[in-house]
Amino acid sequence: MNSNLNTASFYGYGGVSDSLAGIFEALADQEGLNGPRYRQVDIWALLKDVAERRFASGIYELCHLLRGFGILDRRGEAVNLFWMADPATPAGFRSVLSAHENSKRLSDGFFIEGNVLNFRYSDNKDFEVKTGRMPYLAALFDFMVNAIGFVEIQDDLAMLSKSDLTHRELSDISNGLFSKCYAFLSDHLPSSQGQKKMRHILTFLNGYLGEGFDLAEINDETIMAFWEDQDLSRGSDASDFIRFTTVFDDFTRYAQAIRETLSKRDVSDAKVFGTEAHEANLDRIGGEGLSVAEEGNTILELLQEEPLDQVKFIGKKDLDHLADILDRTEEISRWALSYLRSLTFGQGQARISQGLRNKLNADRFQALCEDSSKTNYEDQLTIGQKLSDGLRNTQLASLYVVNNIGAKENSDKTIELDFELLGKARKAFHNINRQGFQDSVLDDPTMADLFEQGADCLDLINRKYDRVLKAIQQVDASVCYDEDKPRFATRFYRIYGGHA
């Protein structure tokens, strides 16, 4: 894979350009002095907004912030203050504001009030940007600079720093920057691609299940048959469906999109799909405009937002895994065997692709096709159980903190844990090495509420995840894996045989 961001090459599926995917990879890979520069929650939120082209209001907010940072920086360079917040968190931006709260550059038209930057424009328009919003806007700025180019936005940045800028002028700059980003996406993210993919699935299902089929008729065999049925010749629409993982994801998203659409018949939900979708950004956490899919991940986002982010309730790898499935547990549970296939042979297929890039020989290729995955379905069940146990232990450890602080403080908030459970909770607490689970929190009464909220979130997450776990536990893992292994080998050989 090239490591640049500006090539025009496209992956063989999804219609997403290497450049666009590369920008998000670069955001995720960027290191500050104290670890990753951006929080995962901000990158995922930005990715969702870019995928649905819902970032016009984000750019509008960003323009205010660029103006404010441009005024505050002694060299007039807004970009400096973005990177002064290291990492890009609300706390990081609070430090930036606090370092400038006595700045001579502040005025009646531009002032800092606690965690808020306030703007008053000469045409009597007011606006404010809170530090809680700045990490997302920093990631958006980074995305924009990578997509459009730093040199290409110099004039816009200079205009934004103009002392007598009107609100109208700022809006025009915002619209211009949005148009440039939109043009970039037109080149790198064809809007018709998703429609084409969905119709391709629908055409197959109409043929396979009959016109007017019901979603309930789609089962694991339907998904497998779709993958095996794809015409692999060059230029075919099926080129988007070479990877089994992509097929599984697209079937779950197809069902999810229909389920969500139907569920919204009785709910006024213009914010998610309508022209005012941008407001959903502003109220992303706890707002009214959340879609069904977003609800699942909102719990994960809450854990990564202030104040809960003081404690690492879930490790990064598990967060990534949960973020991938919590918004579609209904579909995954329905097609549990396909999920196991995707986890297991998806990984195997990635190994084959990687091997082909490394020019593996024919014998090695055949061996890899026949035994592609490092794990089997039983391993996946073990991994799933471990994740569930980990969530439960963290919940117990959190309750131990609440119980301990409550007992010391003689507080009404003490959570009753029986002797056996208390022993388990204590052990769980001392077995966790992540940020926030140190002995010192047991003496800090301000942490009780935080751990109680964390325990509630973990309970919700675990209940959602348990649904998936129970479904995959119903699969006869050993028998199904033995049956699937040669079937996948045959298909892998058909897909990649000509390349080895």
Partner: protein, 183 residues
């Protein structure tokens, strides 16, 4: 639940929703792939240009070669954010340079008498400059970047020893190289 139960408007919305979700899946899969290489973007370029302690990596170097926008961003940042940028050596110059003269700064390369094969790099600064540089960045004619932290100055002079065949010394001598002093 059936596709046919949806109105035309609902079908359109379902397709839009599917498109968004599918794109997120595709990009997320790329991001989480175990075998992928580290990727570089503007943030990495910004940190290299503005932080004297951040060195050039082979990955970022490769990304700069492949991405014109990234290269332009670095050129812009370096030209704006440095304490001083030496003028390019005269077109008529050829071979190795033993010194570079600038407005308020000069660099000399002198052989060490004590250690053969070693040279002193001596950077002199006039009093007029209020901000002392903390690092020196070179851009070779082929677009390779090298950076070295400067020692503390004594009476406006920064001096350090280097191997004569060190890439940094060779690049500093090269007529085609550009020289920047970082803050």
């Amino acid at each position: 639940m059936s596709w046919n139960l949806l109105s035309e408007d609902e079908k359109r919305r379902a397709e839009e929703r599917f498109t968004g979700l599918s794109i997120v899946d595709n990009i997320r899969q790329q991001m989480l792939a175990e075998s992928r290489e580290r990727r570089y973007g503007f943030g990495d370029v910004y940190q290299f240009a503005t932080n004297a302690h951040i060195e050039m990596t082979s990955g970022l170097q490769k990304a700069l070669k492949q991405d014109d926008k990234l290269q332009s961003a670095l050129d812009q940042l370096l030209s704006e954010r440095v304490v001083y940028q030496f003028p390019r050596a005269a077109a008529a110059s050829s071979g190795n340079l033993e010194s570079r003269e600038g407005d308020g700064f000069s660099i000399q390369i002198k052989h060490s008498r004590a250690q053969s094969g070693q040279v002193y790099i001596i950077l002199k600064m006039e009093d007029a400059f209020q901000q002392e540089p903390t690092a020196i960045t070179l851009k070779s004619g082929e677009g390779q970047y090298l950076k070295k932290l400067l020692p503390l100055s004594v009476d406006g002079v920064f001096q350090f020893l280097a191997e004569e065949d060190d890439e940094f010394v060779k690049t500093l001598r090269d007529v085609a190289s550009e020289v920047f002093l970082n803050s």
